[in-house]
Structures are given as structure tokens and as C-alpha cells.
């Protein structure tokens, strides 16, 4: 997969991993590349016992960990939740929702143009959904998916790293170090509840990087289990009980280190029991007691969404959540197979998530934003793929969403800029400002620089 995407893309993800200590003598890998928001934030591991989660907490500053524990237990739980899903690499919007009836389409895409899928789009007769995008089509038909077919910003930067950075920080400013959701939480969040900004990943999503309040990262709610090879059944149950018993004896031994090691074994045993609810199997063998079936797929994405629905349903104080969609969308070559695989798993997982939330009775509390750092060039390249473009596609999903067209599709005739890239009809800051005001009930001007200069669109029913 790596050889098929451009080197800049893999390098920027490497840099995100490597640049742990911002500016400590690290030479910029590419001069001018922005430092990712949240880089260098203090990170501590922490077990939120009240929530039953092993969290990596970021930016808690001088707050002691017991304070965070109390904060989570006390935090407000009824707030609306915004979930941000990132499709990494620059999704080809001209395939995801393709201009079937645009006369230029087959000229620009002689090899990649898709045949009529029959998956029509009500508000624009020119458009068709990609054959692997059946889930998006169904959600839109039900009025639960708003679609911005040409979203971006003027003079789009075609670097993955820079354009993604702009979207993450909510401004075309390479120097900003806080994410747009992080700044919102700094304003409206709590000083001691790291679950209010949750990254379902090994590391913090830059959009959640806050300056003042703690936020967190979690690999999965079901990651706390103790197995052993060739040990099962009753013996396994006895073994798990024995972990706690190992701690019991050591507490009386009088040696501080031995007592500590024993106490931790006992705590680990208690935590394992507390986390049992997140490992309950539902119908169809789903984890997290999900009432619906998620796609069976090796990637973490479907199960992360399933775990997220279970956490929301369990009343954990989540507020802004970020995770990465399945798929590699930087399709410079052999696009058809890679794109179809990504869209199918991502769409089906999102549909299952939406159905799950509704079945659990929490659908009205959750709105999901799906985005990518840019779209792709209208004209295909010589490798059965497409290069970096400008405007791309974004979705809003939820029962409270006004599931209509946002902005318009500008067409391939007059809608391309001088470089042959799609022009944006909706600025991403219009989307963010509208979300902040209408969904999160906050003043967008306090979060998005120059929010007043971008329009607003009604997003909710």
C-alpha cells in the first residue's frame, strides 16, 4: 500500500509519530511543513476506574490523576456529541458521488469513469453514488445524511500535511497549535474531564488538541483482558481469579515493593471485572452488546464505532470524539480497487453505527462529521489513478441532521480552477462555524478565526 501513495503522505504520518517533543532540536523534515496541532503535549497514562477505561491523557498540566477520576465521575453526561471521522489521503469525491451526466466526466476520466450505478442523488440529477457507497446512499435517502459535494477553501494547498493541518486547526494558518475542537473545549469544556475530547486511536487527533483542558486517547474499550495460550474454560476462569489472589497474599508481606506489585495485581483484577460490560457479546456475536451487526473486517474502524456507541449508551461524559475511517484514499495509482474497499467498509460501518445509536435510543444526541483533507484532480493520471486536487466531499450524519445537499456541485465545465481542480462551493469554516453554533451552541467567532466572514448554512432539522 505504501508504494501506491505518495512519499509525502507516508512521511507526514511518520513525522506525526516522531515529533514527540516539539522543536527540541528536531530539524524540520520539510521546511515550511506545519507542526501538527497537539505535538509535544504532555501525555500520561491513566485508568479511569469510574469509566472503566485505560486512557492516555493529554495536557492535564498540573492536575493530579485522582482529580481527573473525580472529574469524569462528576461530568455532565447529557450534552450533544460531535464525532469527527477523517478519511486520510484525499478522497476522490468525483468517484464517491460522481457526475454521471456531466459531459466532461468521461473526457477527463477515460479509464476511471464509472458506469451508471443506478444509485441516484435526489437533489442533483447529474450525480450518482459509487457502487460501493450503498450505505451513504441509504442514509441520504432516509434524510440522515447531509452532503457537501464541493467543500474546501480558496487556493487549496495540495500538500496532505498542510491541508489536513488547516482542516484540523480550523484555519488556513500553518502556525496554529490547537485544534478547532480543542479550542471549543477550552471554551466550553470542563477542567477535569479528559473524556470530553476523546481520540479513538493510539494518539491524539490534532483537531482535539486543547490548550487548557485535558483530552484523551483510547485504543478501545475492550482492550483490557487477560488470556493465556492453551488455557481455556474453567481453568481460564480460575486463572483470572488467581491474579487477584496473588495480590491478596502479598499485601501482608511487609515489603513495600512487593505490596505495591500485589496491590496492582488486585486492582488489575478488579478493573478486568469492571470492564466486562464492554466485552459482552450481542446477537450475531458482536462485541459491546451491539444490537446491530457491524461489518466483519480486520480493521479497527467498525469495532471502534461499536465501542463508541456502547460508551455513549453507558452514559460516559463524551463530547467531541475523533477517529480515522478505514481506507487509504491517496489513490495515485490503481484507484478502483483501493477506493471501493475503503468506501464499502467505511460506509457500512457508519451505517451500522447510526442504526446502533438509534436502537440504543441515543441517536438524537450524536452528529457525525466525515471529512478528508482535499478532493482529487478532475483529470485522471497515467497510472489508473488521480493526483491531489482541491475541493472534496464532506458529510454530516445523524437523526437531527437536515439530510440535504450543502452548497452545490459546480460541474466539471465551469467548476474547475486553472489547475483543473474542483472549486469549493462551501468553505470548511462555514461548515465548522455552523456546527459550532447550531449543534454545540457556542459562539463560532470565539473558536474559528474570522468566523464572521464565512456564511452559515442551516444544518439541523
Amino acid at each position: 500500500m505504501n508504494e501506491r501513495c505518495c512519499t509525502e503522505f507516508s512521511r507526514s504520518s511518520l513525522l506525526r509519530r516522531a515529533a514527540a517533543e516539539a522543536g527540541s532540536g528536531l530539524p524540520a523534515i520539510e521546511p515550511g511543513m506545519p507542526v501538527p496541532a497537539g505535538t509535544g503535549l504532555d501525555r500520561r497514562s491513566f485508568l479511569a476506574r469510574s469509566a472503566g477505561l485505560a486512557l492516555a491523557v493529554y495536557g492535564a498540566g498540573t492536575l493530579r490523576l485522582p482529580g481527573l477520576e473525580e472529574g469524569i465521575a462528576r461530568a455532565a453526561t447529557g450534552r450533544p456529541i460531535l464525532v469527527s471521522v477523517f478519511m486520510a489521503g484525499g478522497t476522490d469525491s468525483l468517484s464517491l458521488l460522481f457526475p454521471h451526466a456531466d459531459p466532461e466526466y468521461r473526457t477527463l476520466r477515460p479509464k476511471l469513469a464509472l458506469p451508471d450505478s443506478g444509485l441516484t442523488f435526489a437533489e442533483d440529477a447529474r450525480l450518482r453514488w459509487h457502487p460501493a457507497a450503498t450505505a451513504f446512499e441509504a442514509l441520504h435517502r432516509e434524510g440522515k445524511l447531509a452532503v457537501a459535494p464541493a467543500v474546501g477553501y480558496a487556493d487549496a494547498d495540495q500538500s496532505h500535511f498542510t491541508s489536513r493541518h488547516y482542516w484540523e486547526v480550523g484555519a488556513t494558518n500553518a502556525g496554529l497549535r490547537t485544534g478547532w475542537l480543542g479550542r471549543y473545549l477550552d471554551r466550553a469544556g470542563e477542567p477535569d474531564n479528559p473524556l470530553q475530547g476523546l481520540s479513538l486511536d493510539d494518539e491524539l487527533a490534532p483537531s482535539l488538541a486543547a490548550a487548557r483542558v485535558p483530552v484523551s486517547a483510547l485504543r478501545g474499550a475492550d482492550q483490557y483482558s487477560f488470556g493465556s495460550h492453551n488455557v481455556w474454560g474453567e481453568v481460564e476462569s480460575r486463572m483470572l481469579e488467581a491474579i487477584g489472589a496473588l495480590g491478596g497474599g502479598a499485601g501482608t508481606a511487609g515489603d513495600p515493593a512487593r505490596a505495591q506489585a500485589g496491590a496492582i495485581a488486585t486492582q488489575a483484577d478488579q478493573l478486568r471485572r469492571q470492564l466486562q460490560p464492554f466485552r459482552v457479546k450481542g446477537p450475531d456475536g458482536n462485541r459491546f452488546g451491539s444490537p446491530v451487526a457491524y461489518p466483519r473486517h480486520r480493521s479497527a474502524f467498525p469495532q471502534r464505532l461499536a465501542g463508541l456507541a456502547a460508551m455513549i449508551s453507558a452514559g460516559l461524559p463524551l463530547h467531541c470524539v475523533a477517529l480515522n475511517a478505514y481506507g487509504m484514499y491517496d489513490t495515485h495509482s490503481e484507484q478502483p480497487a483501493a477506493l471501493a474497499a475503503g468506501l464499502q467498509v467505511t460506509g457500512d460501518s457508519l451505517l451500522a453505527f447510526q442504526r446502533d445509536l438509534e436502537a440504543r435510543g441515543v441517536g438524537d444526541r450524536v452528529l457525525t462529521l466525515v471529512w478528508s483533507e482535499f478532493g482529487r484532480r478532475a483529470k485522471e493520471n497515467g497510472s489508473n489513478g488521480t493526483d491531489h486536487g482541491a475541493a472534496g466531499i464532506a458529510f454530516l450524519m445523524g437523526t437531527r441532521v437536515r439530510g440535504r445537499l450543502l452548497g452545490e456541485f459546480p460541474g466539471l465545465g465551469g467548476g474547475l480552477d486553472r489547475q483543473g481542480n474542483l472549486r469549493a462551493t462551501t468553505d470548511f469554516r462555514t461548515l465548522y462555524s455552523s456546527l459550532l453554533e447550531q449543534w454545540l451552541a457556542t459562539d463560532a467567532a470565539a473558536v474559528i478565526p474570522g468566523a464572521g466572514s464565512y456564511g452559515r448554512i442551516p444544518l439541523l432539522r
Binding site: G25, P27, S228, E234, V235, E236, G249, A257, R258
Partner: protein, 452 residues
């Protein structure tokens, strides 16, 4: 009336019974635990010779199979992610000179440099070779070598420290973390003056290669007078190091920090003063200090210490006689909180806080990864006898010293599991081997094996 006892000597040595349990503790504190039978062999030497065998070892040789990755390929420690970690772990597992590796780890924690800021496994391994070369040598020479080490120059911005734009990063840590301790005997003015003394290093960047050509350029060095700790002169980087090592508060800092690497309790004041005299008297040599610590009664009679994730893992591999055949130890140790060449900050790892519920799970997984290839097949018979199963599982780990409470917990587990099986023929056949597998795993995470 009994003869008057001589006063307690300033540097007492352990004169109690030096049996396998004491030798086992010495091997954990000054190395990575015993191989099978090693504790007994070391105990036979007596306490003095046992310490000297560690501090003055013979030529290095490696015991056990050569390391490779999961595909059977040789390790690529300069290039492949995680291979640097297992390359060093392999030395810890196979070396005949465990204290060399242990001291290298002490210095890595002391001069904590992270590849997160260096960005070159090769430069990190070069630094590692420097730390190993000075393992029990002169601290002053070690400090000077570290000061000009390319990885350190990158990590603490020594390469950007020039006379027109001094960078205080290294100067501050030189005193705060490496030689004197926070707020001990230096001022903010000393930080600024030391930074000027340390100016002059630089390097180039070559596209596709990274940092190259580390060098000292007198044109970038600030040649004017500096005042450091009240001494005025045209100090250079050498003087900056020497002024720290000769500072009156340096010996106590070094002795205390070195002591804490081996013993969890504070040194008695008389011992600390005697160790300081030993250190200064040997012109800042660390061998006599470490030898005295390793012979001190507090090491053998005092409380236990929690093993770090890397020490725990290397020790399990040594006990099980397994070499490096996977790079999984790199991420497993990372999950447990200790990825080599990636300390959390320039202050190193927090040795007081190795254990929490998250790192406990990581240690369980580490032990599971170690046990898996040799796990018993439940279809192969094992004795239907709880004490025998416990005995066999302890044998797997080379019969480490176990507390009676842990032994009771293990036996209770085995008895209950066999009772579950008593009435069902297939369970009677299959449960014993499963119980033995589980016992091996439980022993590995028991408070006895997590500490030494």
C-alpha cells in the same frame, strides 16, 4: 564483660549468609537475573568474589542463540523500527558481563536521550557504545564524551548553541540532571554563562541522510570571559564539564543517584560521605563506588525493588533460555512503559512508578509472548497432582525464591482447577497441562517475580 565492639565502619560490607537467594538478588540488581543454576554458582564464590565477578569480569562472550527477527533475518538495529531495542535486549540476555549492560542502562537513564528528538537509530547506537565504553570508568570522561556526542548535541540543541544566539538547553540539564541536581549550587546566571562556555558545536543536514558532519568551530564559540560558580575564565565546553564535576555539591549528587540505581532506600549519612570520599579519591571513578554499593548490607537486607519492564523481560528470557527470535519485545516493553532509546524525557524514566493497571496488563502480555512457543499441549499428559504441577511450573523459571503466600495462592488455584476436573474423564486428562501453563503465567506476574 564482652570486648567492646568496634564502631560501625563507614562503609559496612554484607557479612550475613550469602546463599542462592542473596546471589539471586545481586544478579537482578547488578544485571538481569540468573540463568538456570547461576545463582547457586555465584553463591559458592562468597559475597566479595561474587561482586568482583560482576565488576571485574573476564572477556565478553555470548551465551545462547544469535538474535534474529520473526522472519529469521538478522537484526537491522540502525534501520528497522524496534530492532534497536531488541538488539540491546539481546546483549542483556546473552552477555557474560551483565553489569556492563546494566551500567549502560543506568547511564542511558542518567543522560536520557530519546530518538524522538534525535531521529537516527545509528546516532543513538553510537551514543550507546559510548555509554558502554565508560560503564564503570571515570564519570568526568563519560560526561565529556556525552557532551560532544552527536545524539546529545541534537537532543539538547548543543548543535544550535552559538555565540550570537546561545541556547541554554544543554547547560541547564548538565547541572540540573547530570551533575548537581535541581537548584543545588548554581544560579540562573550560571546557566547562561555555562551555555556560552558550551558554544561552538554544529553540524550539517544532508538530504536523505539527515544530520552529518558534527564538528566544533572556534568561530561559533564565545571566547569572552565567563563567570561560572564564581570562577572567571575563558571557559570552553571542557571547562564547563570540569567545573561541574569539581563542584563541591557534585559528589553527593552522583553518589546518591548511583546508590538509588541499586538500592531503594536512602544511603545512611556516614555511608554516603564515605562513598563521596571514595569517588573523589579515585579521581571520579565509578568502579569503587559501585563495588561498595554492591557489597553494602542494605542491598541484601533492605526492601525489594520493582523490576523495570526491560529488566523483567531480559530476565525471563535468561531464565527460560530463549534468545531474541521476535521484535515484539520492543512494542511490548513500550506498552509497559520502557522502550529503549525512547525515555519519556531528559529526566529519564520514573523508577518509582513502573507499575499501574495498564502496565500490569502489558507485563502479562509480555510473559504470555514469552511462554507461548513452549506452552504445553493439553492433550499431552501432566500429573494430576497440584503440588507437583506447582513444582514443575517453578522449575520452568529456574526455581526462583517465592514467598509462602504466593506459593499458597498458586497451590490453591491448582487444587481448585483439578477439583473441577475430577468427575469428567476428558477434563482429568486435559486440565493438568492447562493448569501448568496457567501456573507459569501466574508466577511470572506474581509480586515475587515483579520485584527483586
Amino acid at each position: 564483660m564482652a570486648a567492646r565492639r568496634s564502631p560501625q565502619p563507614a562503609l559496612p560490607v554484607f557479612r550475613g549468609l550469602f546463599g542462592p537467594a542473596e546471589a539471586e538478588r545481586l544478579l537482578w540488581r547488578a544485571g538481569f537475573g540468573p540463568r538456570r543454576g547461576e545463582a547457586k554458582r555465584l553463591a559458592a564464590l562468597g559475597p566479595r568474589q561474587a561482586v568482583l565477578a560482576l565488576t571485574r569480569p573476564g572477556r565478553e562472550h555470548f551465551v545462547g542463540p544469535a538474535p534474529h527477527d520473526e522472519g529469521g533475518r538478522p537484526l537491522a538495529p540502525y534501520d528497522a523500527w524496534g530492532h534497536d531495542h531488541v538488539w540491546w535486549l539481546d546483549r542483556m540476555v546473552r552477555t557474560s558481563r551483565p553489569l556492563v549492560e546494566r551500567m549502560t542502562l543506568v547511564w542511558h537513564d542518567w543522560f536520557a536521550t530519546s530518538n524522538d528528538g534525535v531521529g537516527s537509530q545509528k546516532l543513538m547506537l553510537n551514543q550507546n557504545a559510548t555509554l558502554r565504553r565508560f560503564w564503570l570508568g571515570s564519570f568526568e570522561k563519560l560526561l565529556m564524551s556525552v557532551t560532544v556526542d552527536p545524539a546529545m548535541l541534537l537532543w539538547l540543541n548543543g548543535n544550535r548553541n552559538e555565540k550570537r544566539a546561545p541556547n541554554e538547553n544543554y547547560a541547564r540539564e548538565l547541572m540540573e540532571l547530570f551533575t548537581l541536581g535541581a537548584k543545588r549550587g548554581y544560579s540562573e546566571a550560571d546557566v547562561r554563562e555555562q551555555a556560552r562556555a558550551l558554544t561552538g558545536f554544529r553540524n550539517d543536514y544532508r538530504r536523505g541522510v539527515g544530520p552529518v558532519e558534527f564538528r566544533y568551530e572556534t568561530a561559533r564559540h564565545d571566547e569572552r570571559l565567563k563567570e561560572v560558580f564564581g570562577n572567571v575564565g575563558r571557559w570552553t565546553w571542557r571547562d564547563a564539564c570540569q567545573l561541574c564535576v569539581r563542584h563541591r555539591l557534585h559528589p553527593s549528587f552522583l553518589v546518591e543517584k548511583l546508590w538509588r540505581s541499586f538500592v531503594p532506600t536512602a544511603p545512611p549519612p556516614a555511608t554516603r560521605r564515605a562513598l563521596e570520599r571514595l569517588y573523589v579519591g579515585s579521581r571520579f571513578g565509578t568502579r569503587p563506588v559501585v563495588e561498595a554499593i554492591l557489597r553494602h548490607p542494605d542491598l541484601y537486607e533492605g526492601p525489594r525493588m520493582v523490576k523495570s519492564p526491560v529488566v523483567f523481560t531480559a530476565g525471563m528470557l535468561r531464565a527460560a533460555g530463549r534468545g531474541i527470535d521476535t521484535t515484539a519485545w520492543s512494542w511490548l516493553n513500550g506498552l509497559a512503559g520502557q522502550q529503549l532509546f525512547h525515555p519519556p524525557s531528559v529526566a529519564g524514566w520514573d523508577d518509582e512508578r513502573w507499575l499501574d493497571t495498564a502496565s500490569f496488563l502489558a507485563r502479562w502480555q509480555t510473559a504470555g509472548t514469552l511462554l507461548k512457543p513452549a506452552a504445553l499441549d493439553p492433550k499431552v499428559a501432566a500429573p494430576f497432582d497440584a503440588p507437583k504441577l506447582v513444582e514443575r511450573a517453578l522449575g520452568y523459571w529456574g526455581r526462583p525464591t517465592m514467598s509462602s503466600s504466593t506459593q499458597r495462592a498458586l497451590l490453591g488455584f491448582a487444587e481448585r482447577s483439578l477439583a473441577d476436573a475430577r468427575a469428567t474423564p476428558w477434563k482429568r486428562q486435559q486440565y493438568p497441562a492447562m493448569v501448568e501453563n496457567a501456573l507459569r503465567h501466574l508466577i511470572a506476574v506474581s509480586p515475587d517475580l515483579q520485584t527483586a
